[in-house]
């Protein structure tokens, strides 16, 4: 399988949007949307913030640190929520993982 669907998200994951999934601000409707085959989805504000951090470089652990600092919130709670959210996205096929260089 070329792009590894349905990844399992952990704090070590470095997720990113697959190439067929685009996060875009819809100027006409003034909302963020995820564009995917045959679908347009409207992520909520927090999902948008987390998705912007999903660059295939940052680990989930780093995202959690960043969000915990920004919102002065308990790290454990943030971690649980972020992993659950990203897993939900991954299960729907809107998130993949940066692949390890194996050469």
């Amino acid at each position: 399988m070329a792009t590894g669907r349905n990844i399992s998200v952990s704090e070590a994951s470095r997720p990113k949007l697959p190439r067929h999934t685009r996060l875009k601000f819809d100027e006409t409707r003034q909302v963020w949307v995820i564009l995917a085959p045959e679908r347009v989805l409207a992520p909520d504000e927090i999902a948008v913030e987390v998705l912007h951090l999903c660059d295939g470089v940052r680990s989930v652990a780093e995202m959690v640190d960043q969000l915990a600092a920004k919102y002065a919130a308990p790290r454990d709670a943030i971690a649980t929520d972020v992993v659950a959210m990203l897993q939900d996205l991954a299960d729907k096929g809107f998130l993949t993982e940066a692949r390890e260089k194996t050469s």
């Binding site: 070329a2 190439r19 067929h20 100027e27 006409t28 409207a42 909520d44 959210m85």
Partner: protein, 404 residues
């Protein structure tokens, strides 16, 4: 911070027409039938030319000739305008869209103006280089039509030896890391292959499979006697699809479109006329659905007119004629489902009753339902298997086994 994703509207699970599709629509904020936002997705039928001759083709029987097609510059201007007015996704379809030599340029333009692009193709004209060029131009998703799971049935239905090439292109699609949807249009003469088609989609590493029963207008209506499945076949099909949807969860998403002849209620065709979808014909006409030109007496405006696309969508007579519920006669007018299915399909109502404003005869409340269902059931049980192939000459009857 729990619900992270809401489908922008309920993702529309409307019946899909042939390999063309309906699309999820961002319409959650819209509450009345009086306001119509610009559709999220538009179908661009860039040409009617196609090497295949499928007898259920969703193109109109009167095909647009090559000479009337919009030019490269005209299509690029259309794509720019679509993006400006809020369209998010563009489906390049046909005919066979890759029959146009400028498709890479059109996909690049879609990418440059921010449109998410989808290619709906028979695949038989593609080379690996061409597909790679399309991917480099920003193509986001590929849908390949299959007429069966093996060449004997598939090539006969298509009227073209293309099955092997389709398999090859599907593999290239995945090698180029493009997501793949397999489109399978089902009818009496290939429904027995459905389990193998599902397995084929899995083996091809497709993300999605669309199993769409033929919808009967235009070419398919000409071929109804050769295509109509029996009720038993449809029930078996539904069982197979439901079993596969459970078994393949997380591996292959399967969308299923039932044939409305055997339904009790009509489909919410196109999500309702002029509510969330339009397509653009090869010659540039803006249509409420790709079969709309089959309804005589409606004038469709073109992108070549002095009007903007947004104006045509909002104000043109053809779009407003069957919008909402105000136009409905009985039994639709007093029906509690009128905002659910909007009276079904206008093209089917026109094709089967002669008046597009009539209730779609797929509905049991239509006075025509019994008669049409009976004819269809007789055709399904009959022995007429020869196709009329789709072509620019108005159709060609398949040779019989004895060469007649």
């Amino acid at each position: 911070m729990s619900p992270t994703l809401t489908d922008a509207s309920p993702v529309v699970a409307d019946p899909k027409i042939d390999h063309k599709d309906s699309l999820a629509a961002l319409e959650g904020t819209r509450s009345t039938a009086d306001t119509f936002g610009i559709p999220l997705a538009v179908l661009a039928e860039v040409t009617h030319r196609c090497p295949l001759q499928c007898p259920y083709c969703s193109n109109p029987v009167e095909l647009d000739r090559a000479g009337s097609e919009l030019t490269t510059e005209e299509w690029k201007k259309v794509l720019t305008e679509l993006a400006e007015i809020g369209v998010l996704q563009i489906h390049f379809s046909g005919g066979e869209p890759t029959a146009r030599k400028d498709l890479v340029e059109l996909v690049q333009q879609a990418t440059d103006v921010g449109l998410y692009s989808n290619l709906i193709t028979s695949a038989v004209l593609l080379t690996r280089e061409k597909l790679a060029a399309l991917a480099d131009a920003g193509l986001c998703h590929v849908q390949i039509s299959f007429q069966g799971n093996e060449p004997v049935v598939a090539d006969r239905v298509a009227g073209f030896k293309g099955h092997a090439k389709k398999l090859e292109v599907a593999r290239w699609t995945r090698e180029l890391e493009l997501p793949l949807t397999v489109n399978a249009v089902m009818h009496r003469q290939n429904l027995h292959q459905l389990p193998d088609i599902i397995q084929m989609a899995v083996d091809l590493d497709a993300d999605r499979l669309e199993v769409a029963n033929v919808q009967y207008y235009g070419w398919a209506l000409k071929n109804r006697a050769a295509l109509m499945p029996t009720l038993e076949q449809i029930e078996e099909t539904s069982r197979i699809v439901e079993e596969a949807q459970v078994r393949l969860k997380g591996i292959l998403a399967i969308d299923y479109v039932v044939p409305d002849y055997y339904a009790l209620r009509p489909k919410k065709c196109m999500g309702g006329w002029g509510r969330q979808f339009f397509n653009i014909s090869p010659a540039g006409k803006i249509l409420p659905c790709h079969a709309a030109e089959s309804i005589t007496g409606l004038e469709f405006e073109s992108v070549r007119s002095n009007h903007s696309i947004a104006w045509i969508w909002q104000n043109s007579e053809a779009f407003n004629r069957y919008r909402g519920t105000g136009w409905m006669p009985e039994p639709c007018r007093s029906c509690e489902f009128k905002e659910v299915d909007f009276g079904g399909c206008r093209c089917q109502a026109f094709a089967l009753t002669g008046d597009a404003a009539n209730t779609d005869p797929a509905c049991t409340l239509s006075p025509h339902h019994e008669r049409i269902f009976k004819v269809a059931a007789e055709e399904a049980a009959g022995n007429h298997n020869r196709f009329i192939y789709r072509n620019f000459a108005g159709g060609t009857l398949e040779p019989s086994d004895d060469g007649a």
